[in-house]
Symmetry: C2
Subunit: 274 residues, 2 copies
């Protein structure tokens, strides 16, 4: 999906919600265990219930990989079920030397036709660039993640040379990686748990989309992050996983997921109009 | 596998060679394409040919993942074929928020019974620690990788506080991550392409094992890195992938792989004896 289409979808649906399909066989309602493919049965109902209120689905690959070959089948069926009008994210946090990243790109962009993949920056340019050779496919690079461990390295002060101003490592990641791909191919992960840093981040990457995890179960505030993070094209995809898909553990899970995602979209409509 | 067994294997085989199974359907000899599972057929012959000369196999997950469900089958068969006396590495470069890293750990340590997995440090402690809860299983943390992009972030100068001495980011990774797990659970990736830094690295992590990629196809020098990197328990696993498994593209690929791995082991025996 290209940037213009993504923006058009956001303003058509009045939503920049991304629903995270962190589908855990241990957490889905018991009655689905009778289904042939319980994971896909759950995802299908979640997608049907939320698709009018979100513009993206983020599939957390670990949840499928941990089930082996069976999990990959559920993943492929889920991806095929999502219409092309909705942006899809392989939340895989991949990144390796060039020849290996090329194969991950093939796996997620050719074999599976995801619109985007999350990539870890630690190994540098040649680990990221193989993902940037596909037109209308996106790299979503980890900049400042939502977890506690984001403070261990991402928030270390770094300096390239003696003349250089000190900055956090994640700021260097934002600055340096912009040279690798433009705002039509590259987004950044910025956790909702760091609202005080959104303004600074927007100075460094005014035009790029930000994928914002950590809203909902991890605790970020939608109003604050929208105000500080939004740009003239919206520029935000705010993800909620557990807060939507596991809001009810009962037979009404899809209705409850719909109610919650509708509520979030209504709130987002207000911020989009401002 | 625990540390004592790994060290015993090294001194028994007089080798610290790791053979990388970066098995690419495009690169294996043509005659294997007739086999039901060409990837496994190739790996089986490589393993038979090299097992007397190496102590570890590193399976590059991207090569299997890029083939979909079929690839995971080849991977599982390959892993099952490797005897327990040989250390196995899932070269997967995973790392995510805690609940997600737990699932990757489950995938590679429970479902697949690998001895170890490579993990990227960018997301910090809670992304790594779920892999450290398994006894006799190992995290091999990326410190200084062998690729060109290792210079982009890993070699930035960082400072934790004004009193703090400036160090490269990868040195901080080595220092900080030592608090997360001991030398019987944690190894580090240090590329053979940075021989001048091995001495400094050994000052920071005198006892940990180092997994050294970048020897062979990527050009590192075995004598120099062995001299600078070895500790009293050897402490090295030196990986070669393409330089061994694709040394011949013909029917004699396994014999040639044997000859090369035997030659490397003979050289290693000398360095182990010194």
């Amino acid at each position: 999906m290209n940037r213009a289409t993504l923006i058009a979808q956001i303003y058509q649906k009045h939503s920049y919600l991304c629903v995270g399909l962190d589908t855990d066989i241990q957490k889905i309602p018991k009655h689905l265990h009778q289904e042939k493919d319980p994971i896909f049965a759950f995802n299908r109902q979640i997608i049907d219930a939320t698709i009018d209120y979100c513009v993206a689905y983020k599939i957390n690959i670990a949840f499928y990989e941990s089930l082996g070959a069976r999990g990959w089948e559920s993943l492929e069926k889920t991806l095929a079920y999502i219409p092309n009008s909705v942006f899809t994210i392989a939340d895989a946090k991949r990144g390796d030397i060039g020849n290996t990243s090329s194969l991950y790109a093939k796996a997620f962009f050719e074999n599976m036709n995801f619109d985007s993949i999350t990539v870890a920056p630690y190994m540098g340019q040649d680990s990221v660039s193989p993902f940037l050779t596909y037109p209308d496919k996106w790299v979503i690079l980890l900049a400042l993640t939502s977890n506690e461990g984001s403070r261990d390295f991402q928030m270390l002060k770094v300096q390239e040379s003696a003349q250089d101003v000190e900055e956090f490592l994640f700021e260097k990641v934002l600055k340096i990686s912009q040279l690798w791909g433009g705002e039509d191919q590259l987004m950044y992960v910025v956790g909702a748990t760091h609202p005080q840093l959104f303004e600074k981040i927007r100075q460094l990457v005014p035009n790029h989309f930000l994928l914002v995890p950590g809203y909902g179960a991890q605790g970020g505030d939608l109003q604050a992050l929208s105000k500080a993070g939004m740009n003239q094209d919206c520029g935000l995809l705010v993800n909620s996983s557990r807060g939507i898909i596991y809001a009810s553990a009962d037979k009404d899970f899809a209705q409850v997921a719909q109610k919650i995602s509708k509520g979030i979209a209504e709130e987002m409509k207000i911020y989009l109009g401002q």
